[in-house]
Structure formats: C-alpha cells, structure tokens
Symmetry: C2
Subunit: 334 residues, 2 copies
Amino acid sequence: MNKAETIERLLPEIGSPRASGEHFAPSNIALCKYWGKRDAELNLPVNASLSVSLATLGTRTRVEPIDAEQDQVYLNGLLQAPDSRFADRTRRFIDLLRVNQPQLAFRVDTHNNIPTAAGLASSASGFAALTRALVEAFGLSLSPTEQSVLARLGSGSACRSLFDGFVEWQMGQREDGLDSHGVALPASWPQLCVGLVKVDAGEKPVDSRSGMQRTVETAHLYQSWPLQASSDLARLHEAIDSLDFALLGSVAEQNALSMHATMIASWPPLLYWQPQSVAMMQKVWQLRREGLALYFTMDAGPNLKLLFEAASRDAVLAQFPGIEVVEPFAAGAA
Amino acid sequence: MNKAETIERLLPEIGSPRASGEHFAPSNIALCKYWGKRDAELNLPVNASLSVSLATLGTRTRVEPIDAEQDQVYLNGLLQAPDSRFADRTRRFIDLLRVNQPQLAFRVDTHNNIPTAAGLASSASGFAALTRALVEAFGLSLSPTEQSVLARLGSGSACRSLFDGFVEWQMGQREDGLDSHGVALPASWPQLCVGLVKVDAGEKPVDSRSGMQRTVETAHLYQSWPLQASSDLARLHEAIDSLDFALLGSVAEQNALSMHATMIASWPPLLYWQPQSVAMMQKVWQLRREGLALYFTMDAGPNLKLLFEAASRDAVLAQFPGIEVVEPFAAGAA
C-alpha cells in the first residue's frame, strides 16, 4: 500500500483549490514515544504513543494557489531553495492532494513559534498545520480524525498535533492505515507544566527518521521496546485518570530513557546526549531525591523537557532559570 | 541449592589448613559482559561472557592461619574494620572452607596493583587470588576449573580471573553450578592493547550487584539482553579466530553500550556515566571517523577502557595522554 492509495480511499475525489487556507497546529511532546515503523512508506508505527499538545506553541501555515510553475515555500519569512529538505518535504506532501492536477502551484508560508534550540520537532506541528490549511484550501470534507490520518503521511507524530491536550496515537491494524491516527483524550490536567530546557546541541548527528531505522535494524534490545511502550501506555492512562503526577512523570521518564537506550544499543551507536544532557539528568535526579516532584522526557536530541506541576513552578524556575514553561491545559490553552 | 551444598559436591572433605598460601590473579575486562543472574546465591549467570585478563594487573593475596578469635583482614597494608564490606565478604568466603572448623582464623593480606580510579573491579581478581591462596593453604586438590567454580561463589566474574588471556565463562546448565566456570581460550593476540582511562567518578551511585538486580527487575529491555549477549559471544569467537580487530572492537563496544542501555532503561534510572564519559565516547567516535581503529568498553562505572592494537598505540596516547596501557598477550604476560 502506498500513500496515493491511502489518499484514494480517504478522498475519492479532490477538486481544485478554491481559496487560500491558513491554520495553526500545536507542537506535541510524547510521554510514550513513537519509535519504530511497521510501514515506512505510510508512517505506521510499531507501537501506540501518547502525547500532550503544547497549547499555543507550534506552527501557523498559510497556503495559497498561485500562478507559477512551481511551489514557493517560505519558512519563517524566508524563501526556501526548491531542493532544500524543507521545500522538498512540503512539495511532496502537497503532491498527495494534486495527484490529478500536477500543474497546481502554491505559495506556502510556515511560521514556527517554537523556541530555537529547545529541541521541539517542528515537523509534527508543521504537517498538522499544513494539512489543515490544505483541507481548507481544497474545500475538503474531512473530520479531524481523517485529517489526522492525512497528516500522518507527512510525518508520523503530526497525527497527534491535530488535537489539543492529551492525545493517543492509536496504532491501528489496517494495511491502509486508515485506523492509525490521533484520538483526543477527554481529560484535563490544569496543573501540568512542561519546561523547555536549552542544551547547546552542536550538530545533530543523525535525523530521527534514520535513527529510528538504524535502531530497528541493529539493536537487539529494540525487540523489547514494544513491550515497554505497551506497559507505559497503560500506566499513563492510569496516571491521567487519577491525576497521579508521580506516576505520569516516572512513566514518561522511563519511557524516554528506554527509547534512548535502544539507540545507545544500536550500531554504530546512536547517542543524542551531550555531556550537558547527563549533567542535567543528574540534577533532576538530585532534586527529586531532595523531594521535588520533577521528571523529564527527551526526544531524539540532547534537550530535556521537564515535567512538573504548577505548585513546583517556582522551585523549578529557581533551579533552571531561563526555561520556557508551557501549561498545556491552562485556561484558554486547550 | 546454596553455596555450602556446592562446596560439599566440590570438596567432600576439607582438612585443616597446613600452611600459608600466597597467589596472584589478574583483573579481567569483559568484551561480552556478565549482566544478570539466574541464581543470585550461586552467582550463576543469565548469559555466557568472555573476557581478557590483564596480565600483571590484579591482586596478590596471602592467607595464613593465626591463633586469634577472628580473621584479620588487610587491604593494601591497612587493617580493615571487621564490619567493613571488604572484611565481611572475605570472611564469608573463607567460611565456605571452614564450615566444619569455625574456630579457624586467618590473617589475610590483599594487595591490588590496579590503578586507582581506573574503574577496574577488584573483586574479580580479589576472589580469584583468595581462592588460589586458600586452596594452597588447605592443601586442596582442585583443578583450575574447580578453582574457577569456587571463586565464582565469591564474585561471579572472579571465575574468569583464574586464567590468562581470553577466557569464556560458560554459563552451564546445572543447578549446582559445577559446570559454570571460566575456560581459557587457546588463542593469543600479541598486538592487542587495553587503555585504562581515568574519569573522575564522584560517588558510585549503586554497586554493580544491586544495579544488576534492579535492571533485571525493572527494565523491559533487559528481556532482549540474552539475545544480544549470545550473538556477541559468537561474533567475538569469530573475531578472535580470525584476528579481526574491527569486529572485536565493534562487538565489545556494542555489547558494553547495550549493557548500559539496560541500566538506563531501569527504574529508577541507573546511569553510571558522567558528563565526561559522554565527552570521551564522542572523542572515540570522532577519532574512529577519522580512521583510527579505536573502540571502547565500559563496566558499571563512568570509565572507558580503550581497545586498540599496538600499531595505533602512539596515536592513541597522543589523544589520551596519561592512560595506562596493558598488553594482555605481550611476551611474558600470559
């Protein structure tokens, strides 16, 4: 099954774009990670994952049909070279919707308000916002769930950025992936805070897509990852249902470390950590031993994302001055 | 099965010690790690392991029957408090041989010539040397293999320190562990060098025995460890048979990193690395990208042990001044 076939099932008929479209989609941080694909073409995951969307942090994208020979892709106001990775991924995603109208061209304006160097993937919010903007431009009748399926074809974790709050990406069973999409959980956690810590990254050694593939192919330990993820997912639901922060934090932290463990066990070794990452982990652990309810998660990069509740906010800020704090469920956020 | 029962099968009759005994045993560095016990009392491993002994680095131990109420245990010339961990482990090991003569007391003198802070476990060479010294003192007829079984009861990896060169610890199948012991491999690798790098350790967070237990109990990823170890063991034999250094180094490094990965995936997280450990790993990887055939292994601590061949010695020393280089197979060593 390829993407075009999925699109045919999802959207039997696609008309001409009738207008511009502009939408925002939030970044999301996974508490149970997406790590490994059962279908690389369709971004179908090996395991279900669970994230929290970051309210107003994310991507705003505007698309507009233009009279031109090719797409014009802007990122944060700058025209991207047609052969750049960003322009290429954008174009190939739009191709899915203009399969029968290859002459169509768009101007695409993408603005990320994600703090630089905080290690938040912009592809999730980016493809979610692009999906929404294109759906509007083409005047398509797609439910949020169907839009989540579409966004997943651009970047796996984008399917979670179609929703606010806690989102589970149900892995699904179907070969065409129509049942593999985000589902918003009917839960709220107003006290929950996410702290974005900057670690000077240097050059990212391997992009996360390649890293995922290397891990699956070379790390024997990866074989136990689905077991870890499935156990973590169940415990995260339990934590969310009972607002048990220690459980939420500990499961999210162990899940992230287990994901990094599978990378570390790969060959050649895949270590996204910097010396400073280790120093910060040790600091979190020390603060926890001293009684602070503080946990972290990490994605495929050197940055820590702190998890704590509003009651600990001052204590955390005193230890990590300069971090940006997001409240995913604050009034007006979700 | 407990230790006393193993001793009964190994040594149906133990006479009185007739003299003093004094012996040396080398440290060993595992290229495929011992990580996880199937029997905690008898130190029977989950997986077979393979090490190289460190020639003249290790422990020299002298035991002598004395007319006293209790053992007198010296470490590097200093009398140890009877309730210290070192004196306690020593006493309990000697107890195995004086089960019917509890009134016997010994003076035990242990000298390690292992560089301080290099992160070499002294328990392996220590229990191997103590075993040899006691076998002499009691006048026991035990083959090296039987001595290896006995040493294993003191510390698992001690069973490998009964031999020089490459040693495989065959895990065995028997419940009494009589088939779980070191076996010297009939191989030599005169060019092989081990470089001991010092990383300032700070306080070791968790001893390796407890760390092993926590990993087995809490890390889902541990379930795949035996698979990794078994694959690595086979590839190490292949590397040794063909003197393929790139294979030896890469297998040893991935094996060590996979062991650390299982710790990192434990809860609470078990990270023996310091920021400096990560910096050194990155340095090794960078040098390798530049063409230097340099690999590392690590045990349950922050130190790297470098693996290279004599031809690279000058290049390695230029990058890591001050390291101690051991040649396990140099003339006169093994």
